[in-house]
Symmetry: C2
Subunit: 139 residues, 2 copies
């Protein structure tokens, strides 16, 4: 069952506004974005939301478990929609910025085993593989 954006927000106890819907909808076409990319993308649709508001909204979405904040090895935060069922990791092309998601259950269970051996209770994890994608390899 797919929820529309306002329904999703309401379900998470977030007050619905046009700005928040616009920001949430960005993730339908952009899997991995930073705050300024959201700002620019909305501007191209004639929607101008101040960067302060974008950060505030992203913060509230993150707290409500709607999105995840990621870091791809540089100075800004990247956001992606959170999918409750799967945890995926990322291949990141350091030349063109391409991001490929992957899921690997063997790695997941090895991580749990390692954590267990260290008496460590896992909350989350991030696995980023940096390198060169096929396309950039031919340039």
């Amino acid at each position: 069952m797919i929820l529309d954006s306002s329904e999703l927000l309401r379900n998470r106890g977030i007050k619905v506004t046009p700005h928040k819907i616009a920001i949430l909808n960005i993730f339908k076409s952009h899997k991995h974005v930073d705050a300024y990319q959201i700002n620019n993308s909305l501007k191209m649709d004639g929607i101008d939301i101040s960067i302060a508001t974008i950060y505030r909204v992203l913060g509230s979405f993150e707290k409500a478990n709607i999105i995840d904040k990621l870091n791809f090895g540089n100075d800004q935060s990247i956001y992606e929609l959170k999918n409750v069922e799967d945890h995926h990791d990322h291949l990141i092309c350091t030349q063109c910025g391409l991001v490929i998601e992957f899921i690997n259950s063997q790695i997941e269970s090895l991580q749990l085993k390692i954590a267990d051996e260290n008496n460590f209770k896992v909350q989350s994890h991030t696995l980023n593989i940096y390198g060169t994608c096929a396309k950039c390899m031919n340039n």
Copy 2:
């Protein structure tokens, strides 16, 4: 064979100065530190190096493959000595900041396999497992 700090720097083509030696020596007692921790730690030893210089030196060490710059999910960079032979990953306690290093060759080879399946040439990777350490679990 263990090199002393000045010898190591000279071997990497870095001009030796007391400041650089002091900063490099920090890593003998601190495995994972940020720039301000280095600054404070040196101050307690009566050595006052401007934060600008610390960043410049860390940058040159990183370029010379002496240290790695890491991110543990927050806004500042963490530095650790680079060990050429092993690549290790990190368990990070989100309560007390404890960092445990681990090496797992199965995960390493799974990563290579995944990259391969995506026609991706791996340069580096980071695997961070966030959670609660044994000590914090009992609090």
